[in-house]
């Protein structure tokens, strides 16, 4: 067991190092000079002032030293917990930008992913091989899952937000509301959270449900199921065994989903004007903001690794076969 985790940990450290290095490199390979955009935004009235501003920014961001030195400095800063200063949102620090946005993104995506995973699996397992549900309910989820997310989100916004006027169409909380720790504020927060959440939930739910249904059907066709049935086991028991086996690929799928959490946020945040990391990432890419991109990527890398680690642990817990393999024990 110990050796298993030690090996895993080593792999994670290596992956982290390589991934972060690539993250550092990619923005710098993209054509376009982010300093130029900053100079343009600085509003210099003459070329001389613009040149002075350019020199100042170049020095500030340490872009006047050789690449290798930039890279070493980056690691030194990173290990010291300093992610640098954003270029697009100059002079805000990357740390503060990400920390302001993160609660919204996590608060939206984690429940959406986890709940849809949980509910989708339950429902998929329940619907498999049940005629009425299989034929009536699942097609709806097929349609929902196949719908372009953007379109579904806009439809929800339009129908429930603008036409029915039940839900607000923008903001993390009401624009008249002052954040306090009160029930009113939390309610308001939830009201704004609901539509973006629902849009993500609906799409993901269908995906999980369909996946689970197919897996269950596959498992019910497996020899052990037939054998159990032949022994006269109640169908409830057979389904339970099938479910446990079908869960394993779904757990892996969940880990992948948790890792790429930011990608899922971009469209949602733009359509619903919801604060969070997604929109910020998009703007950072557009404006070639090296430092903000590095910060967001770092967060994604850490997210993927942590999620993977958790799944590794979970696998050991839920799959006896892994446990035996890890323990190097007797079969």
């Amino acid at each position: 067991m110990r050796r298993y985790f030690a090996r895993k940990l080593l792999i994670y450290v290596l992956t982290f190092f390589v991934a972060v290095t690539i993250n550092w490199m990619i923005p710098r390979l993209v054509p376009g000079d982010p300093i130029q955009g900053m100079v343009a935004r600085a509003g210099a009235q003459t070329p001389e002032a613009a040149a002075a501003i350019r020199a100042q920014y170049t020095e500030w961001f340490g872009l006047d030293v050789p690449l290798l030195e930039q890279y070493l400095r980056f690691w030194a800063d990173l290990l010291g917990g300093d992610l640098g200063v954003s270029m697009w949102l100059f002079p805000a620090s990357v740390r503060s930008v990400i920390l302001t946005a993160l609660p919204y993104t996590l608060g939206l995506l984690l429940p959406a992913i986890l709940l849809s995973w949980w509910a989708g699996n339950k429902f998929g397992a329940y619907a498999a091989r049940r005629k009425v549900l299989d034929n009536a309910a699942l097609p709806i989820w097929y349609v929902l899952t196949a719908t372009p997310y953007m379109w579904l989100a806009i439809l929800l916004l339009w129908s429930l937000g603008i036409v029915a006027n039940v839900f607000p169409t923008a903001g993390g909380y009401g624009f008249l509301v002052v954040p306090t720790w009160s029930l009113d504020f939390v309610g308001n927060l939830a009201l704004h959270w609901f539509l973006p959440f629902a849009s993500l939930f609906l799409v993901a739910f269908g995906g999980w449900a369909i996946g689970m249904r197919n897996l269950i059907i596959y498992e019910l066709e497996a020899d052990y199921s037939h054998y159990l049935q032949a022994l006269g086991a109640p169908s409830r028991l057979v389904r339970r065994y099938a479910f446990r086996n079908a869960m394993l690929p779904q757990v892996t799928g969940l880990a992948l989903q948790l890792g790429v959490i930011i990608g899922g946020a971009v469209v949602t945040e733009i359509v619903f004007s919801y604060p969070g990391l997604g929109y910020i990432t998009l703007k950072a890419i557009e404006s070639g903001d090296y430092f903000l991109l590095q910060g967001v990527f770092l967060f994604i890398v850490v997210g993927v690794l942590v999620a993977n680690f958790i799944v590794d642990v979970v696998y050991v817990l839920v799959d006896p076969r892994t446990r035996t393999g890890v323990g190097g024990g007797r079969a």
């Binding site: 501003i53 949102l89 805000a92 949980w118 008249l176 002052v178 604060p275 817990l317």
Partner: protein, 586 residues
């Protein structure tokens, strides 16, 4: 086992989220400072809707700076609401209006004297003095302060008494630029700013802004900026102005579509977003209003130019540039792309507010308009012929012409517009391809001079046409052209005239016209860049909560209806005092 494992995953993920959230709370909660020097109003539980003005269309990212020196970056309203300028310049009336200054006069040809108002205080209680004005001007001695060029023509700024500042210039002061400086740049308090490093001055966040203006910092978040009224504002007595909204909430934009949604729901009162379909909505009974009730709906804010790289063939040939100008069907762009919310530009490119500087005789003689046949004949006269019979002209040396016209991707109106331009050019025999790179790439090409053609509209409505001619003709050409003359057009005679215009007094309209007439003659024969259309001062307002918005209608206020950066000091701040609460709905 099954249940335990599942709840474990949920638990682990949830705790992760929780950790992140609490950390986020530390760094990101309501800023702890007490901006406005302790005058901040007590925090209400929510802002009453009928006392709150919702705006949008300026802020495209979280508010991060309240620094009035960083003029393109500050949170919406930093200049105007908090920091104020010596004068306002109102383009609608072409008048300079004393603001922090009581008066400003040229006491001789080379000295200018500003008299400050009595009884203006910073919101921390200290009085505004002549020292603050001198200090602000002297900040320009730092090279990276945007107005550092001030000291190219200013020699000395001194406080002769606590309310008087004397500015001494060299021979032939730049009167036009000076008039621009005194209205455009905000005064900062010396007692809080002295000792700041150059970096801090030009790039610091200045997150506890202390100004003299009608509003105070209340709070901000990733998607909003909130200002609260400063009840002790000096303007109430001295100017008889009283901004009506108690709170101003500026909403950060993620997209123009989202702003439209909010506007239709009554969640935005003043939207300065570009909403192409607005003309239909204004007529469709949505309680929405624009400055003009019919086309062009919007006031004009700036000119969109077709910038040609005059260092490359065939754009280095004036005949080619003029032919291209004649090939563009501008009305098709105005009607088709914009639904008539913009106006075709004058051949001079000067905004409507500068009509008086246009020499109509020169325009009649040399101006251009959409005429494909004329474009063809100018090309032929210039020696551009179709030698290989493909219907497109070749360079004068016989090599084929293949030009690229680029605008940033996602700028849908410009993308459509350049397709129309390319079509028109093709009909006249000019081969232009369209291209949509990322915005940073377009900026890159523009500054390094590696483009063929681009669109640009950076200069805004202003107090003097000098800013436009500076944009067109400025010399010398640098390696990187960061702000002006992107086409790298070189004409010493024209640049001398621009400088002559700069040194003409602002009230000498006849003298200015004599120079602009000559500049227009050069511009229309040489066509260094092609004026296309006037972009609108995008503004649509809802009458649901606030009424009496600026409008062309009789008896309506005429101030510029916008919160864009740089426009508060162009009179937009006065809009707030004209607003009236809407009568309660029955």
């Amino acid at each position: 086992m099954r249940n335990r494992s599942r709840s474990l995953i949920l638990l682990a993920a949830a705790s992760l989220a929780l950790v992140a959230c609490t950390e986020g709370g530390d760094g990101a909660g309501p800023p702890g400072g007490v901006p406005g020097g302790g005058q901040q109003a007590a925090q209400p539980a929510s802002y009453p809707r009928n006392e709150t003005l919702f705006t949008s269309g300026t802020q495209w990212g979280p508010p991060v700076s309240w620094n009035p020196i960083a003029t393109q970056n500050y949170a919406t309203g930093t200049i105007g609401f908090v920091y104020e300028t010596l004068f306002l310049y109102d383009p609608q009336t072409d008048k300079y209006e004393p603001w922090l200054a009581e008066s400003g006069n040229w006491t001789s040809d080379t000295t200018y004297e500003v008299k400050l108002r009595d009884g203006v205080n910073w919101t921390d209680g200290k009085p505004l003095t002549a020292d603050d004005v001198v200090f602000t001007a002297e900040l320009g001695k730092m090279k990276s302060v945007p107005y550092s060029n001030l000291w190219n023509y200013l020699q000395k700024a001194e406080a002769t008494d606590p309310r008087t500042v004397k500015f001494t210039f060299g021979a032939q002061p730049s009167y036009q630029q000076w008039a621009n400086w005194v209205y455009f740049n905000a005064i900062v308090p010396k007692h809080l700013w002295q000792g700041r490093s150059e970096q801090d001055v030009t790039a610091g966040a200045n997150d506890k802004p202390v100004g003299t203006g009608p509003y105070l910092y209340q709070t901000h978040d990733q998607d909003r900026m909130v200002w609260v009224k400063n009840d002790n504002w000096w303007g109430k007595q001295k100017l008889n102005l009283d901004p009506k909204p108690k709170y101003i909430v500026d909403i950060v934009n993620s997209s123009n579509e989202a702003a439209l949604g909010l506007l239709l729901q009554g969640g935005i009162d003043l939207s300065n977003n570009f909403l192409p379909g607005i003309s239909t909505l204004v007529r469709g009974g949505y309680k929405l209003e624009t400055y003009f009730p019919e086309a062009p709906y919007m006031l004009s804010a700036n000119t969109t130019w077709l910038v040609m790289n005059t260092k490359k063939a065939p754009m280095n040939n004036a005949a080619f540039r003029r032919a291209l100008a004649n090939s563009i069907d501008i009305n098709k762009i105005v009607n088709g792309v914009y639904g008539q919310i913009v106006k075709p530009a004058s051949p001079t490119g000067l905004l409507p507010i500068w009509d008086k500087y246009i020499d109509q005789a020169v325009v009649d003689e040399l101006g251009f308009s959409f005429d494909t046949n004329r474009a063809k004949s100018i090309l032929a006269e210039g020696g551009f012929r179709d030698t290989n019979g493909d219907g497109l002209v070749e360079n004068t040396d016989g090599s084929p012409i293949e030009l690229t016209l680029a605008v940033p991707t996602g700028w849908t109106d410009w993308m459509e517009a350049i397709r129309t331009i390319a079509e028109g050019a093709k009909a006249a025999g000019i081969n232009i391809k369209t291209e949509f790179p990322a915005q940073t790439q377009v900026e890159d090409m523009r500054e390094s001079g590696s483009f063929d053609m681009i669109l640009n509209n950076e200069r805004q409505i202003d107090n003097t046409p000098w800013t436009y001619y500076d944009y067109v003709f400025r010399l010398p050409i640098q390696q990187q052209q960061t702000t002006v003359n992107f086409g790298r057009y070189e004409n010493q005679q024209a640049w001398d005239l621009v400088n002559q215009l700069d040194k003409t007094k602002v009230d000498d309209v006849a003298g200015m016209k004599a120079v602009t007439s000559q500049l227009q003659r050069i511009q229309l024969t040489e066509m260094p860049l092609i004026p296309l259309w006037y972009n609108g001062l995008w503004a649509q307002y809802s009458n649901a909560v606030w009424t009496n918005w600026p409008s062309a209608k009789d008896n309506a206020p005429k101030h510029l209806p916008t919160t864009w950066r740089g426009y508060m000091q162009r009179g937009a701040i006065k809009m707030l005092s004209d607003l009236k609460p809407a009568p309660p709905a029955k």
